[in-house]
C-alpha cells in the first residue's frame, strides 16, 4: 500500500521533471511552422534538423561552446592544482597564523558573488581585460570552497605516510606530488566536477564581463539572443538541448561524483 503510493508519487514527480525536457527535445526537432498544430504531437512525424543546422551554422553557437569549454577547462585545471596545494598546506604544514588564515578562508566562502559584482567589474575594467578569456577565467579562481574541500580530503591521510616520505628523502613538493595527490584522487575528481559544473552554469559574471557576441558562453549567448531570435522556439530548443546534452551525458557517466559535488557545493561547510 505504502509502496504503491510511493511509486505513484515518484513516477508523477519524475514525469513532471523530465517531460519538459523531452518536450524541448521534441520541439527542437520540429519545423517552426508545425509548432502551431493543434492538438500538439509529441513525437514529430518527421525529424526536422533545420533548427540544429541554423543553430550551428547561422549563429555563433559553436563559438560559444568553444568559449565555454576553454573557460571551464582552464578554471578546473588551474583550480585543482592550486586548491590541492593550498589544501595540503592547511592540512599538514605548520606555519604561523595557519588557523587564523583558515578562518578567513571559511569566512570568505560566505560572501555571495553578487555582492562583489560591481567592484569586480571595475577591477577587470581597469586591467583592460574586459571581453577577454582572462576576465572569465581569473575571478572564479578565487572561490575558496576548493581549499576547504581539499583540506578535508587531505587531512584524512595518515601523518605517518608523509613522515615516512620525509625520512625517505622526498622534498615537500615531492610529497605533495607523489604521495598526497595520488591518494586523494577521488577528492580531486569531486573538485573538478564541481568546478566544471559551476563554470558551465555560470551566468551573471560572464554577462557582466563580456560584451562581444563572439566571446559569449553558452548560457549568456542563449539568454541574450531573445531579441534576435524572438519567438523562434525551434532554435532556442535546439540550443537548450545542445547545452544540456554534455552535462546529462557527464552525469550519467559519473553519477556518484556529480552528486557528491553538488552536495559539497551547496553545503559549503
Amino acid at each position: 500500500m505504502l509502496t504503491t503510493f510511493s511509486y505513484a508519487v515518484t513516477i508523477v514527480v519524475a514525469l513532471a521533471c523530465s517531460v519538459p525536457l523531452f518536450y524541448i527535445l521534441s520541439t527542437s526537432l520540429k519545423d517552426q511552422q508545425l509548432l502551431f498544430t493543434y492538438p500538439p504531437n509529441w513525437i514529430p512525424s518527421h525529424l526536422y534538423w533545420g533548427n540544429y543546422t541554423s543553430l550551428l551554422f547561422k549563429t555563433p553557437f559553436l563559438r560559444w561552446v568553444l568559449n565555454t569549454l576553454v573557460v571551464a577547462s582552464s578554471v578546473t585545471l588551474i583550480k585543482v592544482v592550486f586548491d590541492s596545494m593550498a589544501g595540503y598546506a592547511f592540512a599538514k604544514m605548520r606555519f604561523p597564523f595557519r588557523n587564523a588564515l583558515f578562518v578567513v578562508v571559511i569566512m570568505t566562502m560566505m560572501i555571495p558573488f553578487s555582492a562583489i559584482l560591481i567592484p569586480l567589474y571595475f577591477i577587470i575594467f581597469n586591467f583592460g581585460l574586459l571581453n577577454t578569456y582572462w576576465a572569465l577565467i581569473l575571478p572564479p579562481l578565487a572561490n575558496p570552497i576548493g581549499i576547504f574541500l581539499m583540506r578535508g580530503f587531505i587531512e584524512g591521510l595518515p601523518n605517518d605516510l608523509e613522515n615516512a616520505a620525509r625520512l625517505d628523502g622526498v622534498s615537500e613538493f615531492g610529497i605533495y606530488l607523489r604521495i598526497i595527490l595520488p591518494l586523494v584522487r577521488p577528492g580531486l575528481v569531486v573538485l573538478a566536477v564541481l568546478t566544471f559544473l559551476t563554470q558551465y552554469t555560470s551566468f551573471i559574471w560572464p554577462l557582466v564581463a563580456v560584451n562581444d557576441q563572439s566571446m559569449q558562453l553558452i548560457t549568456t549567448g542563449l539568454a541574450t539572443q531573445r531579441s534576435v531570435w524572438q519567438v523562434n522556439y525551434g532554435i532556442f530548443s535546439a540550443g537548450a538541448v545542445m547545452a544540456l546534452v554534455p552535462i546529462v551525458a557527464f552525469f550519467l557517466l559519473l553519477q556518484k561524483q556529480f552528486i557528491a559535488a553538488s552536495l559539497a557545493g551547496a553545503l559549503k561547510q
Binding site: V9, T10, I24, L35, P112, P139, L141, R226, L244
Partner: protein, 323 residues
C-alpha cells in the same frame, strides 16, 4: 629532572649529563632555529601563494571596494564624490528597492516551503522505491543539471501564451488560456514555479542523503517498542530531521535571495518590476543607471543579510544532534 635522590648511604640518582659536556647556548639555538623555521614557512607560503593571490585580488579586494563605494557616487559618467550615508537613504526611499524586497519575500514564501516539503516527501517516498529507483532518481535530478538560464528558456517556451504547452493543455481541456509572464499577477508565481521545478531534485537528494544517514538502531529500537511506521516517523525521523530541515531552510533562503538568472531571461524584472529581485536591481544599478554607489550599497546590504544567515547556518552545524 629524573629520579630525585633518596635518603640512604647511596643516592639513587642516575647521572643525566656527564660533567664537562657543553651544550649549545640558547642564543645559538635561536639563531639556527630561525633559519630552519624560515625554510619551512617559505615552503608553506609557496604552496599557499597562488591561491591566496587570487583570493585577495578577486574576492577580498572587491569586498573592500564595495565598502568604500558605498559612500561614493558617480564613477562611470560623473567624477567620484563622497556622499557619506546618502546612498543608504536613497536605498530605503527607492520604491523599486522596496518592491524588490517584497518580491524576494514573495519568492521565498512560494518557493521555499514548496521545495523543501515536497523534497522531503519525495525523499521519504523514494526510500520505498527499490526497482527502477535509480532511473527515477536520475529523472528527478535532471532539471538540476540545467543551468538556470536554460531552464528559464525552457519555461519561457512552455509559458508562451500562444505556443506554450501549458496553454495548449488548457485549451485541450476547454479552459481559458492564461497570460503568465506578461501578467503582473502571474509573472512571479510562474518564475517561482520554474525555480521549484529546477531545484526539487536537489532537495530530494539532500533529504534522501540525510535520511539514509539516520542511525538504523533507533528505528529498530522503536520498532521493538511497538511503534508503527507513522509513529516511527513522528518520534524518530522528525526530531532528527529537524536540524537537517533548519539547515535546508537557511540554505534555500540564501539561494533564494540571489535569484537573477531566471528573472533576467524570463521577464527581465517585469512586467512593472513585479519580478524584480535584489540582485537583478544591483545589476541594473551598474549597467543601466550607472549608479555604482547605489549598487554597492545594495550589494553591501545583501552581503550583511547573507552573512547573518550563514552565521546562523554555522551555529546550527555546530550544535550536536541532540534529541
Amino acid at each position: 629532572m629524573t629520579a630525585e635522590s633518596a635518603v640512604g648511604p647511596a643516592p639513587a640518582a642516575f647521572p643525566l649529563t656527564r660533567p664537562g659536556r657543553p651544550r649549545l647556548s640558547k642564543a645559538d639555538h635561536r639563531r639556527l632555529r630561525r633559519r630552519y623555521e624560515i625554510g619551512r614557512v617559505a615552503v608553506a607560503i609557496g604552496f599557499l601563494l597562488p591561491n591566496l593571490f587570487f583570493l585577495i585580488v578577486f574576492l577580498l579586494w572587491p569586498l573592500v571596494q564595495v565598502f568604500i563605494e558605498m559612500f561614493q557616487t558617480g564613477g562611470l559618467i560623473e567624477p567620484i564624490r563622497y556622499v557619506g550615508l546618502r546612498n543608504w537613504e536613497r536605498i530605503f526611499h527607492d520604491p523599486v528597492v522596496i518592491q524588490t524586497l517584497g518580491n524576494s519575500l514573495r519568492f521565498a514564501v512560494i518557493i521555499i516551503p514548496t521545495m523543501l516539503v515536497l523534497g522531503l516527501l519525495i525523499a521519504l517516498v523514494l526510500q520505498n522505491v527499490k526497482r527502477g529507483g535509480a532511473t527515477l532518481r536520475a529523472l528527478i535530478y535532471l532539471p538540476v543539471l540545467a543551468p538556470t538560464v536554460i531552464a528559464g528558456l525552457i519555461w519561457l517556451f512552455l509559458l508562451d501564451p500562444d505556443l506554450g504547452a501549458f496553454n495548449l493543455f488548457l485549451r485541450v481541456i476547454g479552459a481559458k488560456p492564461l497570460i503568465y509572464l506578461g501578467s503582473t499577477d502571474l509573472a512571479l508565481p510562474s518564475v517561482a514555479a520554474m525555480e521549484v521545478w529546477r531545484s526539487i531534485g536537489f532537495w530530494a537528494l539532500y533529504f534522501l542523503a540525510a535520511l539514509i544517514g539516520m542511525p538504523r538502531e533507533l528505528y529498530q529500537a522503536a520498532h521493538l517498542d511497538g511503534a508503527n511506521s507513522v509513529q516511527r516517523f513522528r518520534f524518530v525521523t522528525l526530531p532528527l530531521m529537524r536540524r537537517v530541515f533548519l539547515f535546508a531552510i537557511v540554505l534555500a533562503t540564501i539561494f533564494n535571495l540571489q535569484i537573477f538568472d531566471s528573472v533576467y531571461v524570463m521577464t527581465d524584472g517585469g512586467p512593472a518590476n513585479t519580478t524584480a529581485t535584489f540582485v537583478w536591481y544591483i545589476y541594473h544599478a551598474l549597467f543601466f543607471f550607472y549608479r555604482t554607489g547605489f549598487g554597492a550599497t545594495m550589494a553591501f546590504l545583501l552581503l550583511l543579510i547573507i552573512l547573518a544567515l550563514s552565521l546562523v547556518q554555522m551555529r546550527l552545524l555546530r550544535r550536536r544532534i541532540g534529541v
